[in-house]
C-alpha cells in the first residue's frame, strides 16, 4: 500500500479508536450502543497487532525467516508438521478459547461495563497477547518444549517443579469452578438438563459413526451431532412441558454435582475415541459456529447496553463476589485479558506446527486478540440486560433473600429496579421455572445472547430456544473442559507417580488409571461440593481462587520470558514482559492477601472462619469452616510457590546483569530453512 495512504488509514483508525474509547469511558447517565465497545476494541487490537507486536518481533525476539522451525527439522507427520499459518491460527484459537472469557466478564459486569472493558483491552494488548506470543516463540526455539521444561532450564529446577505444581492446582480449581457454573445453570431446569444429558448419547453415537460407519469423516459426524443437538434442544421444550419427564430431569444442585463427578470419572477412564474425542469435535464445532454467530448478531443488531459504566458496587459490596475493582476485577477476568493457561497451549501443540518464525505474531498475538474479542462480546451480552434482571439472576439467595419478593426488594433498593412479575415473565419466556439465584455467569450470558438473537431471528417466540441453545453451548464446552482436563491431570499425576513406583506411571495399567482418576476427581469434587453447599453460591469464593491460580501461572510464564530476554542480552527491552509481570504480582498477591486475611467475612477466608466460630456451630457451619480453611491454605500455598519462582528468577537476573554468571540460553542450534515460500 502507498505509504501516505497507510498513514492516512492509521490516522483514521486512531481517531475512531480514541473517540470510541472516549465515549465508552466518559459517557454517563444514558445507555450507550454496543457498537462503541466494538469500535474501541477493533481499533485497540489493530494498533496492538500492527505496532506493538511488530516492535516485539523486531527488537526483542528478532524473528528470523531463514531459521528452520521444529515443524520442519523434526517433521514426523504426527506432532511435528509444517502447517499453513491460517490453519495453525484456527487450531490455536480453538485450543485457547474456553468458557473463561465468557464467564469472567459476565461476573465482572457487576462493577459496570467500563472496568471490565478497559482491563480486557489493555490487558490483552500489553500482557495476554505478549505472553502468548513470546512463550510460543521461545518454545519454537527450543524444539517445542513445554513451559515446565523451559522453566526448569532457564530459572532452575525449582521453577520447573513449581510450574508443574501450579498447573495441577489450577486444573483442580478450574475443573471445580466450571463444574459449579454448569450445576448452577442446570439446577431445577428440566429443559437444560435434558439437552445436556442427550449430548452424551449423541457423542457416543458420533464415536461409533466415526469408527464403524464413516471412518475418519469427523466434519460430517460433527454436522450430524450438531443437528441431533438442535433436535435435543427442541425436544427439551416438550420434556419441560410433560410433568412426568420434567420431574425426572428436574435435579437439585447436589444431585447434578454427583452426576458430574461420576461422568468425569467415567470419561477419564473410558477409551478416548468413544466419548472424549467426539465430544471434543462437537464442542469445537458448536463453539466456533456460535462465537461467529454472536459476533455477527452484535454487529447487525448493535444492541443498547443498559448496565451503567460504573455500578454502585465499585465500593466492594457487590452481591456476586465481594471486593473492590482493584484487585478483584483483574483476577475475575483472566481469560480475555491474560491467562496463564494459554502459556501451556503456546508451549504444547502449536509450536510444533509453525512453519516460519515470522508467522508467530499472527498465531500467538493474533489468536489472543480473537479470544479477547470473545470476552468483549461477553461483556456486551451481560450488559444488554436490565441491571435489575442481571443482579436478580446472578445474586445468591444468601445475599438477596430466599423469596422472589425479598430478592426484588433488595435489588430495587440498590437502585436497579426489578419486579417479581417481570422476572416471572422472563423465566416463562425462556422456559424456566425461575431465574433467581442462578449464579455462575452462564445463565446471565445465555439470557443476554438470547436477547440479542431474539431481536432478529424468530423474535420473542424463539427466545426460549435461543436461551437453551446458549446454555447448551456453554455447558457443552464446559463438559469438554471437564473430561479433557480430568484426563490431562490424570496423566500428569501418573507421570509424577511413575517416578515413585514405575507401574503407576503406565497410562494403560487399569489400577493406576482408576486410582489416579479417582484422586483427581475427588480433588476437584471437594471444591465443587463446597461451592454447591455454600449459602453464598460458591462462585464468591471459588472464582477468585481460580483467577488467582490462573494469573499466578501467567506470573511463572512471564518470569520465564523475562529471564530468557535478559539472558539474550536484551535487558533494556525487558519491561515488555517485566511490566505485565510486576502488575500481575501486585494484583495476585494483593488479591491473595485479601482472600486470606481481609477482615470482611465476605472477602477473607479466615475472617469468615472467625465469624462462623463466634456463633453456635452446626453441621453446615462446621463444613464452611473447614472449606474456608482449605481455601486459605490453597491460596497461601500457591502464593508461596510462585514467590519462590520469583525469587529464583530475580536472583538469576541480578547474577546475569552484574556479570557474576554467564548468560546462556538453551536454544536449539540455528539450521537454515529449506522451505520455499510456496511450500507452506
Amino acid at each position: 500500500m502507498n505509504r501516505s495512504l497507510a498513514v492516512l488509514l492509521w490516522v483514521a483508525i486512531s481517531v475512531v479508536g480514541a473517540s470510541a474509547i472516549g465515549m465508552v469511558a466518559i459517557h454517563r447517565g444514558e445507555p450507550i450502543n454496543a457498537l462503541w465497545l466494538v469500535a474501541a476494541a477493533t481499533c485497540c487490537y489493530a494498533f496492538g497487532y500492527r505496532f506493538y507486536s511488530k516492535f516485539i518481533a523486531a527488537k526483542i525476539l528478532c524473528l528470523d525467516p531463514r531459521r528452520a522451525t521444529p515443524a520442519e527439522r523434526l517433521e514426523n507427520g504426527r506432532d511435528f508438521l509444517v502447517t499453513n499459518k491460517w490453519v495453525v491460527f484456527g487450531h490455536h484459537f480453538a485450543a485457547i478459547a474456553g468458557p473463561g472469557p465468557l464467564v469472567g466478564p459476565v461476573l465482572a459486569a457487576q462493577f459496570g461495563y467500563l472496568p471490565g472493558t478497559l482491563w480486557i483491552l489493555v490487558g490483552a494488548v500489553f500482557a495476554g497477547c505478549v505472553q502468548d506470543f513470546v512463550i510460543l516463540l521461545f518454545s519454537v526455539r527450543r524444539d517445542g518444549k513445554s513451559l515446565t521444561e523451559m522453566a526448569k532450564e532457564e530459572t532452575g529446577v525449582l521453577g520447573g517443579v513449581v510450574a508443574y505444581a501450579a498447573v495441577i492446582a489450577i486444573l483442580v480449581i478450574l475443573l471445580a469452578v466450571v463444574a459449579l457454573v454448569i450445576v448452577n445453570a442446570l439446577k431445577d431446569s428440566p429443559w437444560g438438563t435434558f439437552t445436556i444429558a442427550m449430548t452424551i448419547p449423541i457423542a457416543l453415537l458420533m464415536g461409533v459413526y466415526l469408527r464403524r460407519i464413516r471412518p475418519g469423516k469427523v466434519l460430517e459426524s460433527s454436522v450430524l451431532g450438531f443437528v441431533l443437538v438442535l433436535l435435543a434442544i427442541w425436544g427439551g421444550q416438550w420434556v419441560s412441558h410433560t410433568p412426568s419427564l420434567a420431574r425426572t430431569f428436574t435435579l437439585t444442585a447436589p444431585a447434578l454435582a454427583v452426576l458430574l463427578l461420576i461422568y468425569a470419572f467415567a470419561a477419564s477412564a473410558m477409551p478416548v475415541w468413544l466419548l472424549l474425542a467426539p465430544r471434543d469435535y462437537l464442542s469445537t464445532f458448536v463453539k466456533l459456529g456460535t462465537i461467529g454467530l454472536l459476533a455477527i448478531g452484535i454487529v447487525v443488531m448493535h444492541p443498547t447496553l443498559h448496565m451503567p459504566a460504573l455500578s454502585r458496587f465499585v465500593d466492594g459490596t457487590g452481591p456476586i463476589f465481594a471486593g473492590k475493582i482493584f484487585p478483584f476485577a483483574f483476577i475475575t477476568i483472566a481469560c480475555g485479558a491474560i491467562s496463564g493457561f494459554h502459556s501451556l497451549i503456546s508451549s504444547g501443540t502449536t509450536p510444533k506446527l509453525i512453519a516460519r518464525e515470522t508467522e508467530i505474531p499472527m498465531v500467538g498475538y493474533g489468536a489472543m486478540i480473537a479470544e479477547s474479542a470473545v470476552a468483549i462480546m461477553a461483556v456486551i451480552a451481560a450488559c444488554v440486560l436490565q441491571p435489575g434482571v442481571y443482579f436478580a439472576v446472578n445474586s445468591p439467595a444468601g445475599v438477596v433473600g430466599q423469596t422472589a419478593a425479598a430478592a426484588t426488594a433488595s435489588i430495587s433498593n440498590w437502585g436497579y429496579p426489578v419486579t417479581a412479575a417481570q422476572m416471572q415473565a422472563l423465566a416463562q419466556a425462556v422456559g424456566e421455572q425461575t431465574l433467581f439465584n442462578r449464579t455462575g455467569g452462564a445463565p446471565a450470558f445465555a439470557l443476554g445472547m438470547a436477547h440479542i438473537f431474539s431481536q432478529s431471528l424468530g423474535g420473542t417466540t424463539l427466545m426460549a430456544v435461543w436461551y437453551h441453545f446458549a446454555v447448551m453451548f456453554e455447558a457443552l464446552f464446559i463438559l469438554t473442559v471437564l473430561d479433557a482436563g480430568t484426563r490431562v491431570a490424570r496423566f500428569m499425576i501418573q507421570d509424577a507417580l511413575g517416578h515413585l513406583y514405575a507401574p503407576l506411571g503406565r497410562t494403560s495399567w487399569y489400577p493406576s488409571i482408576l486410582a489416579t482418576s479417582a484422586l483427581i476427581v475427588a480433588s476437584w469434587g471437594v471444591f465443587l461440593w463446597q461451592g454447591v453447599k455454600d449459602p453464598l453460591g460458591g462462585i464468591n469464593s471459588l472464582w477468585p481462587l481460580f483467577g488467582i491460580a490462573n494469573q499466578l501461572l501467567a506470573t511463572v510464564a512471564l518470569c520465564v520470558a523475562t529471564t530468557i530476554i535478559i539472558k539474550s542480552g536484551r535487558a533494556r527491552y525487558s519491561p515488555v514482559t517485566l511490566v505485565p509481570l510486576c502488575w500481575l504480582v501486585v494484583v495476585t498477591f494483593t488479591a491473595s492477601w485479601h482472600k486470606i486475611f481481609d477482615p470482611d467475612p465476605r472477602i477473607g477466608f479466615l475472617s469468615q472462619v472467625r465469624h462462623l466460630l463466634a456463633a453456635p456451630t452446626n453441621p453446615i457451619s462446621t463444613r464452611l469452616i473447614l472449606n474456608n480453611r482449605l481455601d486459605a491454605l490453597v491460596t497461601g500455598a500457591l502464593v508461596a510457590m510462585v514467590s519462590l519462582v520469583l525469587i529464583e528468577s530475580v536472583r538469576k537476573w541480578i547474577s546475569v546483569l552484574t556479570g557474576r554468571s554467564e548468560a546462556i540460553v538453551s536454544e536449539s542450534a540455528f539450521v537454515p530453512t529449506r522451505l520455499a515460500e510456496e511450500q507452506i
Binding site: 473463561g100 469427523v218 475415541w273 469435535y281 481469560c335 491467562s339 493457561f341 484426563r487
Partner: protein, 58 residues
C-alpha cells in the same frame, strides 16, 4: 473471485486440521493404506496419546 476461493480453501483446510481429518489423511498416506474401520481404529490408537494429553483451555 480468486481471493474468495483461496479463503474458502484455507477455511476448509483449517477445519480439516482442527477436526483431525488432515491427520487421518496423513496417517493413511504414511501407512499407504485405504480408509477403513480398522485403519481408523489404528489411527485412533496412535492419536490417543496426543488427543488425551491435549489440554483444553479455560
Amino acid at each position: 473471485m480468486k481471493p474468495l476461493r483461496k479463503a474458502l480453501r484455507i477455511l476448509i483446510a483449517a477445519l480439516q486440521e482442527i477436526f483431525d481429518e488432515s491427520a487421518y489423511a496423513r496417517f493413511l498416506r504414511r501407512r499407504q493404506i485405504d480408509s477403513s474401520a480398522s485403519a481408523y481404529a489404528a489411527f485412533c490408537r496412535e492419536r490417543e496419546a496426543v488427543v488425551s494429553r491435549r489440554a483444553r483451555c479455560c
